[in-house]
Every structure is written in C-alpha cells, then in structure tokens.
Amino acid sequence: MATSAHTIDPGDLPRAMLEVATSLNDYVIVLPIVICLMGGAFLLLVRGWRGLQLGLTLTFLVAIAALEVQLFVRVLYDGPVAMTMGNWLPPFGITFAVDVLGAGFALAATIATIVVVVYYSTDTMLREVRYGFYSLIMLLLAGVTGAFLTGDLFNLYVWFEVMLIASFGLMIIGGRKIQLDGAVKYGFLNFLATTFFLIGLGYLYGLIGTLNMADIARVAGQTDSAAMIAVAGLFLLAFGMKAAAFPVNAWLPASYHTPDSAISALFGGLLTKVGAYALLRTMILLMPAARDVLDPVITVVAVFTLLLGPMGAMAQTNLRRAIGFLVIGGIGSVMAGIAISGPYGVPGGGLYALHSMLTMTAFYLVAGLVEQISGTDDIRKMGGIYRASSVLSILFLVLVFAAAGLPPFLGFWPKLLLLQGALSTDDWLLAAAILVNSLFTSIAGARIWAHVFWRNGREGEPATASNPDLKPVSEAISRPAILASVVLVALILYMGLRPNILFESARIAASDLLDPARYTQAVNLEVPER
C-alpha cells in the first residue's frame, strides 16, 4: 500500500502538536464561554429556587465581564492572543483567537446583558424562571461571546447555532400568540441563513482545505479568485441575513417586537451585531480580494439599508417595530463601513456596531417602560408620558440623538469616521446616504418622541385632553428598570464625550483586520505576504 514515492524530510513538515502546556494566563480566552455554558447548566439545575437565580446570574455575568476587561486590556497592549484546543497546533486544532475587535464586542455584549438582567430583575414571572429564562440568557451570551472570540470558521457556525437555539427559547418564552407568529418567521429565516453559511463553509474547505481563520487569511489570496468570490458572496448573503441588511431584513420587524421588551433589548443589541461582526471578519480579514470585487454590491446594500431603516421607522405605529427599523438602519452604517473599507471605513463600521449594541439595547429597554406606563404598544395612544415620567422622556431623546449620530453622543464618532472615509474615496453616494440616514433617523425618532412624550394625550383628540390610560408603574418594579436604562444611557453619553480610548481601540482593531500579520502570528502561523 505504502508508496515509496514520498521522500519528505521530517524536518520540512510543520509541527502538529504543542509540547508545553498552555499557560494558565491564556485560559482567560476561553473562560468567559466556559462560565456562560457551565453557569447556564447550573442555573437549569437550580431552576426551582427563584431567589437564587437572579443573584447567581449576576455573579456569573460580573465574573465574565471582569475576565473580558482583562482580556480587552491585554489585547489592546500586547496584540492578539490565541489558544488552540487539545494541544494541537494550528491549523489542526480548533483555535480561539482574540483581537481588539472580538474582545471589545464581547465586553460590550456582556455589559448589555448585565443591564438587561438588572432591568428585568423585578419583572420576571415565576413561570418564566421555571422555564429556564436565566439559563437561556447565559446560553445566548455563550453563543454570542463564542462567535466573537473564536478563530475557526466552522466553530463560528457552531456558535451561531448555539445563539440561535437559545434565542428560539427566549423568543417564545411566555407562549403568547404573537410570539409564536414572530418565532416562525424568525426561526425559518435565521436557520436558512446559517444553512447558507454552512454551504459557503463547505465550498471554502473544498477549495483551500482549512477552516482556521488565520490560515484562511494566509492562503485565500493564492486561490482561484472566481471560486473565492462565490464563497464570499454566500457569506455576504448568510451574514447579511443574520444582520438584517436589505433586502433580507424582513424577519426582524416581523419578530423583534413580539417577546417581552427585555428580550427584545437583548436581541436588538446582540444578535444582528454578531452578523455584522462576522461580515467584518470575513470580508475584511479573510477575503479582502473578494470584497474588492463585491464592493458595488455591498455599497448598494449599504445605501438601501441606510435609507430603508429610518423610513420604515417613520411608517410604524407600533413602538418596538419602529425601533426594529432603526436597528436595521444602524446595520446600514456597518455595511457602509465594509463598503468603504480602508483606514476609515473599518474602524467606523466596527465602532458603529459597538455603539449600536449599547444604544439599541437601551432603546428597547426605554420602550418597554413606556409600554408599561401606557399599557399599549401603539404610538398613537401613548401621548402624555412626559408628565408621567420626565426621566424616560430625556432618556428616549438622548437615544434618538445617539442613534441618529448627533454629537455629543457615541453614535456621532463612527458616523464621522464613515463620512470621512466615504469622502476620502470620493464615494459621494455613500456619503450622501450616511447623512440622509442621520437626518431621517432624527425625523423618525423625533416624531415618535413628539407623539409619545410631548403630546398631551392620544392622537386624534384635542391637544388639551390628557391621556386617561396612563397608569404609573409601582416604584419597586420600575426603580431597577429605570436605573439600568439610566446607567446604559450614561455610558453612551460618557463614551461620546471621551471617545479617545474608543478611537485608539478602533484604530488598532482595524489595523489588525486590514493587515493580518499580528493575528496570524498570534495563532502561530507564518505571516502571509500581501
């Protein structure tokens, strides 16, 4: 059987096994996910003890956040770090590779989750805790964090599915009719998206025989470019669908307003951004040559997404559906960043996704409080909430400005970078679309604000008539919810006023995406020549 034709010097072959144990220090790369998964399992075991659930969940989450802060600071100063499972050396083992982009997103996701859990702390019905509400939240975070930290494309697919199955559970917890309706559309279209991703993965492996991201970045340039463009097209479709970019965005406004507002907040903050992250990762780091070819397509997608989002928001009467359209508009900005690429587009798109995580979570949280006070989800019947709660009106207005990208809030800085990038590449179409998006978002948001807060009473009644349906929510229930929203909005304001660290991080993240040298080195592979 054995042919003697193989005369290979053993010294020429790359080593396959790691001979020294991974240093304990490096376990920080996987610990956030380990805590998420083990914590979720443990919470399921003790699901009968309601009092224990909240405290345990918060403990796990704070531990994860602390680890991720450490990880973020470490990659910020020392460059990307990597860990490969089972002592196999890359590209054989499954690698976790963390750069500034992944660590920053993972940290933002954990912060958003902590805020949502605090917000929901007094509101969860006993029934939902018994059904494993907190376990599902931990699993969702495991999927999201895993997607941000992994360095292996097939592993990314697995994390997508972990995230998807946890979100299915959260989507239908409570079992109201509207939730089942939303979950059918959400479930089918998102499962379809991950299947497209799997098709792309299959072809990619068939073409270049590796799924390790650093290895793909190394060899993708040397492969048959037409086939690589097809793979990149499949990834664009799959992740675009996950991120709810035009024209595959229909599932988001059909489903995000159906579960409880805290779960909407979690979805609006985290899920679409994982799609956006995967797009940044694949298009910029892995297949830059294919991205250049697909550039016109991405530009068109970005322009339409930028315009469709706020225009859809203007046409809605359901508050949370309107916010769903604003989420889509934000994805347009990330797509614009990918279309512009280069030293402005990539940090702009990444920073916008980070901003969108925090802003959209806060938006849904405030909307949930508004719905509680007014007892309806119809913007036309909400009038007069300024009088019932002036704090909410300020929070909502700040969020409208942040989403529209007005200074001094966080959303301004990524928009500035994107605009600078679009103008420096003479892409007037994208520049105009980014500005029109900001204008339309402020119009849509301000219209909602005027109807919900400014107006005295319901639409169609005399302006002097007050709204009899408003019922103040009891202090005990609303205090943690308002506190959580205030903290998140304060964070958005603070980061908008002191953007230096964000700019610096975004610059490092973008340079690592545009030039994979440090990333590849961290994974222990030879640096490619580009």
């Binding site: 054995a2 193989h6 290979i8 068939g206």
Partner: protein, 126 residues
Amino acid sequence: MIEQVLAALVGIFFTAAIYLILSKAIIRMLLGIAILGNGVNLLIFTLGRVSREVPPIVSDGELIPAEGFANPLPQALILTAIVIGFAMFTFLLVLGYRAYQELNADNTDTMRVAEPKDAPRPPLSY
C-alpha cells in the same frame, strides 16, 4: 464517478429545497428546510472525496497518507451539522405545529398576528 453523481444529486436536492421553501405553506417550508440540510451535508461529504480505495491512515515509514484518500474531516464536520440541523428541524416542526394550533394558520399569508394586514396609518399630527 460517484462524485459527479453525488454532485448532481446535491443540485437536485437544492432545487427541490428552494422550490419548497418558496412555498407559503409551513409544512412545505419544513420539508424544504429538511431537504436543504441534507443537501448541504451531502455537499460537504462529496467535497472530501468519496473513495474506498485508500484508507486515511499514515502507513509505517510515511509522513502523509497515500494520494487519493477520502478526507475524514468533512465527515466529522457533517456529523456536527447533522446533529445541529436535526435539532433545529425538530424545534421548527414543533413550533410550526404549535403555531397551527394557536393561530389556526399553516400558511404564512394567514399568519398575521405580529404584522397585521390592515395596519393603521402612521400618526400624522406632527
């Protein structure tokens, strides 16, 4: 030879799946999803070469396996994909049935609780 046949079969699976998913009936969409999943698994299986001739084993004194072996890694990948796909499909099946019971609709055209058909006009006072 068998690869070409399998490739053609993958094409047929994809065609049937897309046709079924484009339907409005939930049952047909479910069948489409199931066929699409199997099509993708078959695709990855075929990409790893299908052959019984050469075992994927490094023989004594050699450093790499003999030319033309069937790559075992795609087979490991589809094992994962089969498990995940099956779990998702079962969930969607139960969800579809539950939606049929609760909403009395097995057609996306009549499933309009979350997106009402005669949606009210947006507020016009500002």
